[in-house]
């Protein structure tokens, strides 16, 4: 729901447009199925967070464009702030851990190659960092939208 709302911040999008934008925003991690997408849109519409913007017919096929409502922007801003606060806490603790030295926490463990996980695979992006980036993206987009609308989202 968070990603679907974020996908609608900058402009109204139609069903497949939302799928593509969510895929792009998540770096390919979240690939919405069409059945799931319409379940999400139904819920967001029922809660008044998205609304129908317009209908177009492209090559004989119906496209419905959905837009973020003011309530949707407020809900997304609240969720983005919550995620950003969580990510900030995680980042601060990781910084403190790096300052004190992580090796002191596990003196008996065998030295590992820096930058590699215990499984030997290359480390993936930390969840806290990913959440922080996503939340900041959503907040920035909301701020840009508010500036463009001349009001507060």
């Amino acid at each position: 729901m968070f990603l679907a709302l974020t996908a609608l911040v900058d402009e109204p999008r139609h069903g497949y447009g939302i799928v593509q934008e969510v895929d792009r925003l998540s770096g390919g991690r979240v690939q919405l199925k069409i059945g799931s997408l319409y379940g999400v849109l139904d819920r967001l519409a029922a809660d008044g967070l998205v609304g129908l913007d317009r209908e177009e017919v492209q090559q004989g096929r119906l496209r419905r464009y959905y837009r973020l409502t003011d309530d949707g922007a407020r809900a997304l801003a609240a969720e983005a702030a919550r995620l950003a606060a969580n990510a900030e806490v995680a980042t601060a603790r990781l910084r403190a851990r790096a300052d004190t030295g992580p090796e002191t926490a596990a003196p008996e463990s065998a030295p590992r190659e820096r930058g590699r996980s215990s499984t030997g695979r290359a480390p993936s992006t930390r969840p806290a960092t990913a959440l922080a980036v996503l939340a900041c993206t959503a907040l920035t987009a909301l701020a840009a939208r508010a500036a463009a609308d001349g009001g507060v989202a």
Partner: protein, 332 residues
């Protein structure tokens, strides 16, 4: 506007979308087909394109959610969804009460008769997962409720399948399995992502569990009397025993609740949920494959209970279905 040529893939997507209710299709079908076709690209018919299985599964899941009252569903489907969730609540509550009753019986037997076997203790404790499931669903924690109910259901089915030699497994065991599976399916399907579960206060969640003491307090003096009397004289008490056990009391509860719901004109969801509970209990009590001479009190009581349930279920079903909102197209 130019109409695109009908293609095989589009026809197949439209066939998949027939899983959805007609009212939902009327609103969404063209838009969803457009999204599917954009996603798939224009694939020549000669390649025999087919919808992907994960896309079919997502449409099937959406169909279940919409048919059980997800946002966007018509009021009639919302009422059916509410009925299914009530069936789940009644079923999980009933299993929780049976588990607590078994636990209390186990404790009483351990104190008064003899220590139970390790297997008996283990299965009774595992069945208590139903209590956790009941409390979780009453408090609005649906995921935890589903996980706990899966443990409870697995344990109950295991006890059912291994409690008797295979040649003695019959109708009543099949009926119990039906009750367990129906409860589990209603919980899994009814409490879907589109539902905001109610979070009841602890007092309201815990209080109904006290009912588990009732069959114990009613049965204990009866069993003591039956043990004290000669077998020939104690037959009269057996007639009462089939009304005072957990299943007998559940049947009485459904009959009373059904009568109250009918007279107070409760919502169709309540009527249909009680009708389902009545049908499941009647299936359990039906004396199928049990000769009359084997146990006359059990046989006759079963017939009487099934007869009363049949009348109540019929009234609940007719009134409930007639009271359902008329079907109308969904709107965004």
């Amino acid at each position: 506007m130019t109409e695109p040529d009908p293609v095989l893939l589009e026809q197949r997507y439209r066939a998949v979308l027939r899983l959805l209710p007609a009212s939902y299709r009327a609103e969404r079908e063209d838009e969803m087909v457009a999204a599917f076709m954009e996603m798939s690209g224009e694939v020549p018919d000669e390649r025999g394109p087919r919808p992907r299985w994960d896309e079919i599964a997502s449409v099937a899941a959406l169909a279940v959610r919409v048919r059980l009252g997800a946002p966007g569903a018509e009021p009639r489907l919302v009422a059916w969804g509410e009925a299914v969730r009530l069936v789940a609540l009644l079923g999980v509550g009933f299993q929780a009460l049976i588990s607590l009753y078994s636990l209390l019986s186990l404790g009483a037997a351990a104190l008064l008769v003899e220590p139970p076997s390790a297997r008996h203790i283990a299965t009774t404790m595992a069945n208590c997962a139903w209590i956790a499931a009941y409390l979780a669903v009453m408090r609005g924690h649906v995921r935890r409720a589903k996980a706990a109910a899966l443990v409870g259901c697995g344990s109950s089915l295991y006890v059912l399948a291994t409690g008797l030699p295979v040649e003695f497994l019959g109708w009543s065991e099949a009926a119990v399995a039906l009750i367990l599976v129906t409860t589990m399916l209603a919980l899994l399907a009814g409490f879907h992502r589109g539902v905001q579960p109610a979070r009841r206060p602890w007092g309201r969640a815990v209080a109904p569990l006290a009912v588990a003491v009732l069959p114990l307090t009613l049965e204990a003096p009866l069993i003591a009397l039956m043990n004290a009397m000669p077998p020939a004289d104690s037959e009269g008490l057996m007639w009462a025993a089939f009304w005072l056990g957990p299943e007998g009391l559940a049947i009485l509860a459904v009959l009373v609740a059904g009568a109250v719901a009918l007279t107070r004109r409760r919502s169709p969801s309540v009527l249909l949920a009680l009708a389902t509970a009545g049908m499941l209990l009647a299936a359990y009590r039906l004396p199928v494959g049990l000769p009359l001479e084997f146990n006359q009190p059990l046989w006759v009581t079963g017939v009487v209970q099934c007869g009363m349930l049949a009348v109540m279920v019929s009234l609940l079903l007719v009134t409930g279905i007639r009271a359902l909102p008329a079907g109308r197209p969904a709107s965004l």
